[in-house]
């Protein structure tokens, strides 16, 4: 019994130390991540409510923007690769009207935590070299800048395909294993514990192709205060953790980029698609939105400003 108490105390102490370290990392990150219009925007899911009552209709807004302020993105069938809600032990397609915001709606189960998942098909875009570098630095992708330089392509426009992998967690009456299970996206943020129940420490993993990705920059932002911006890189096991300094709606996001080689399906474009794509790079944009409840232990924590 004493051993269990000691283990619990040590765990709490470790969590507190980790939280302090991560908060410090967040402050540093907030300083580094000066925001600007980098011509590459975050993408996330904004449902009409994060706490639906059983049987309530939930509308699902898709947003593209920065600082967790986004423009509505209407439903576009040609862009959707997957758009589902996982609740009550099954997946159901989210329906909606073409070219309309909100992009879809469904009836909430409300019994347990539900997961809304949206995956876009890869979209080609060209960015001027300076704009590309700006956004690569902002998203912690300096490695790609070095690779472009090694290829002698630093001055060339960036030709890339971008794909969105957005998830949102809706609070239910009880937690659900679905909240901590991967959807199966090419790039995905997966929490270790269901954050909708209120956690002092948000821990999660970034997965690329179902495997942990080390060194990925992960950023957390609360909806209510754009000046709070926590950032850290995933460790060797793809793990990251944030102490969320306040309750409310949070966005956690990460961007990964890989070379878009022919016969290499790095983003769901397919082998033939990769052969006939002129993109040199594939960017993968993962996001997770959820609401941390008022009674969360994190409510009492003080965060960086």
């Amino acid at each position: 019994m004493a051993g269990v108490r000691l283990a619990t105390l040590m765990h709490r102490a470790a969590a507190t130390l980790a939280a302090a370290a991560l908060l410090a990392a967040g402050v540093v990150g907030a300083g580094i991540l000066a925001t600007g219009d980098a011509q590459a925007h975050d993408f996330w899911i904004e449902p009409s409510t994060f706490r639906p009552l059983p049987g309530a209709t939930v509308t699902v807004g898709l947003r593209a923007g920065q600082n967790f302020v986004g423009d509505p993105v209407p439903r576009s069938a040609r862009a959707i690769g997957q758009f589902v809600v996982r609740q009550g032990g099954g997946d159901e397609a989210i329906v909606g009207s073409e070219n309309i915001d909100p992009a879809g709606f469904f009836r909430a189960d409300g019994q347990s935590t539900a997961v809304i998942a949206y995956r876009s098909l890869p979209t080609y875009i060209e960015l001027p070299a300076d704009k590309l570098e700006e956004y690569l630095r902002l998203e912690g992708l300096e490695r790609i800048i070095e690779l472009r330089s090694a290829r002698g392509a630093s001055a060339k426009p960036g030709r890339e395909r971008f794909s969105r992998y957005a998830k949102a967690l809706l609070t239910g009456e009880r937690t659900s294993a679905a909240a901590i299970q991967p959807i199966g996206f090419t790039y995905e943020i997966v929490p270790d514990e269901d954050p909708t129940v209120g956690l002092s420490l948000f821990r999660g993993h970034v997965l690329h192709g179902g495997k942990p990705l080390a060194g990925a920059l992960v950023v957390a932002m609360p909806h209510s205060d754009p000046s709070v911006r926590l950032a850290m890189r995933s460790d060797a096991n793809g793990a990251f953790a944030f102490t969320l300094p306040q309750s409310g709606v949070w966005l956690i996001k990460s961007v990964h980029m890989v070379a878009a080689a022919p016969f290499s399906d790095v983003d769901g474009i397919g082998l033939w698609g990769s052969l006939f794509s002129i993109a040199d790079w594939a960017s993968l944009w993962a996001s997770l939105t959820f609401e941390s409840p008022e009674n969360s232990p994190s409510t009492n924590a003080k965060g960086p400003r």
Binding site: D37, Q39, H41, F43, S48, T57, T59, L62, R63, A64, G65, Q66, N67, V69, G70, D71, P72, V73, P74, S76, R78, A79, S97, I100, D101, P102, F105, L121, P122, T123, Y124, I125, E126, R151, G152, A153, P157, R159, R161, H223, S224, D225, P226, A260, A261, P262, W272, G273, S274, L275, F276, S277, I278, A279, D280
Partner: protein, 363 residues
Amino acid sequence: MKRILLIGLLLLASPAADAHEIGTTQVRLTLHGDHTWSAAITTAPQALVNKLEVEARLPRSSDLGDAALRARLGELSTVLARHVEVAFDGSPSPVSIAIARLELPSDVTLPAFVVLLANGPMPPEAHAVTWRYDLAYATYSLEFAAGETGSPSSVWLEGDEASPAFPVSGDIKPPTRVAIIGQYLSLGFLHIVPHGLDHILFVLGLFLLTTKLRPILVQVTSFTIAHSVTLGLTMYGIVAVSASIVEPLIALSVAYVAIENITTSRLTPWRPAVVFAFGLLHGMGFADALKELHLPREAFVPALISFNLGIELAQLAVIAAAFLAVAAWHREKSWYRPRFVVPGSAAIAATGLFWTAQRIAGF
């Protein structure tokens, strides 16, 4: 058969558009006869308010009702006006903004929107106008009309991108077709001479095979037909092949024709077919260059054809120069092939192989 081929090519074409996600914002900019302009900006109200709140360092609101949204937008109207830029001949016009309409439907499956009406004066002597609105993150459409009854023109703008200059009055005329044809003819020529050394070496490789006219004509015709086909198909988005494949293969094509020149001085039966296949690749390379020049939408076909014609003229110029420099005077000499064709082809082949390795490593 042609139809099957076309369907196949369409299936292989990249479906993706060259853009960010398209948002819900729409703008209509109108110039009026009384020397004023107006712009109706339709956008999502809560997102607009949140963007302005972030800039003004105010607490971020959410789910505001009609009255609260109007009040908040009223408070932030001066901040909002700073994000609308209508410039005449480069000089920004004063801007005032008001809410023309606000819709917050009670049915949550319907979109909320606000219509802002911006307006300002237009200098009487103005020639051109540009639009910029930097509060949109997604791609949005701008419709421009010179006068209430004028036929509008539309462009897609990326976020904070400035629009192209629109002519205010009749004294700014778009370039004529003749001017566009001349411009793209010249661009096509310059793309080969002096900028396209790999294409120059390929054409020299075709020339060095033999001094007889017919084999040269057969090869050049084959090459021309092939690259014209893929240049057109690529520009229309029907074909898209990665530069990581096209560029090394173009380099390899340079090496191939030169190596074959060393082994034979006769037009082999397969040479025109091989040159045709290589021509398909070169056409895709030409298209890559042409895309960077942004073909004028109103004269797409003339510009495309004249660019291709410029390429042909450059090819013929390369062959004519090579002929006049050496072949015209020495082609009958016994040393012409061993001392000129073979070493020249070897140098071209080595260059082509080097480029092939370099481009594979580079991609």
